[in-house]
Symmetry: C2
Subunit: 188 residues, 2 copies
């Protein structure tokens, strides 16, 4: 298959995707990535993250010219200045984005053209966890519901299968639905 401008499906360069898969099959260590973020407290519930560098494909990435900047805040009822979505709302953003990208990339790999994807997410959270008011209540989401709408000429069976593959492959879906070991250190 010749690599042309037409080799993109769903905006994904499929030839390059298969080349990446081939390279990783030959050299599995190319699949090792380390992503990073830095965060600085601004005041109250407000803080700001910057993301720029990462390690992956066997080297420090040098392609990004500047950092991406993302904020967290809290709404008024949670005593914030409401200058940004809050961290648990931002988790829904991550989950929506990762499921969507997983669906789109795996659709591209299968040659399935997608015209549009929209999702709505809801997560239930009992604030008594954060406040330490009940030992029976967890701090994070008790449950999250995701609803997708997909526009495509693919069959309903193919779209249902893509929704399943998205869940089976999405890194953030794994992070949210399974346990990730996190260590927290305090630097002197």
């Amino acid at each position: 298959m010749e690599k042309t401008a037409d080799s993109k499906t769903n905006g994904v360069d499929v030839d390059r995707l298969f080349a990446t898969i081939g390279a990783i099959q030959q050299t599995p260590s190319l699949a090792n990535f380390t992503f990073r973020a830095r965060n600085r407290w601004i005041g109250g519930g407000r803080n700001r993250s910057t993301v720029q560098t990462f390690y992956g494909a066997g080297q420090e990435d040098a392609s990004r010219k500047g950092p991406f900047v993302m904020d967290n805040d809290e709404p008024d009822v949670l005593l914030g200045a409401d200058q940004a979505a809050n961290p648990v709302e931002n988790v829904l953003h991550c989950l929506a984005g990762c499921l969507t990208t997983s669906l789109i990339y795996h659709a591209a790999a299968r040659g399935i053209t997608i015209d549009a994807v929209e999702s709505r997410l809801e997560g239930d959270l009992d604030l008594r966890g954060f406040l330490g008011l009940s030992a029976d209540v967890r701090n994070g989401y008790e449950g999250v519901r995701v609803t997708f709408r997909i526009k495509s000429d693919a069959s309903p069976q193919q779209l249902a299968e893509l929704c399943k593959v998205a869940q089976e492959r999405s890194p953030v879906f794994d992070i949210v639905t399974n346990k990730v070991p996190v260590t927290v250190a305090l630097e002197k």
Copy 2:
């Protein structure tokens, strides 16, 4: 204690924080929140979330005038247009922000003044999970490391205790380190 402009510690209105705790102790259902996000695929690895409404404190919140808009993309090596941090980088942003806010609010509740908080996060991810190339590799982070630097007149013991409380109370720390049930539906 009279409510004055001075009642803020670390930018948190402590009187209002204790009033919130009192109200929830009397009426636990006030602690039930439902947060929401919507997401729309733009192309390739790029998609955009909007966050505005939520339910909490016994009612639909009406305080937000417009939506917050957040993007996901992928870097070039992951076949994206690199217009935003990617979903797993954004997870580090959420985790940093939530641990910081938990630390700041609980410090305020204890009357501990914090001057500055910075954090650095790293997460290791093996791309073979996402690509479906190895059954032995998980899709999400294999581990995340968080390092805090805190400037405060509080004692080292107090700061270590605050770092511990932040982990014990942070919703996103719970979401990442424990399992959250997520249901995904495909709307016709």
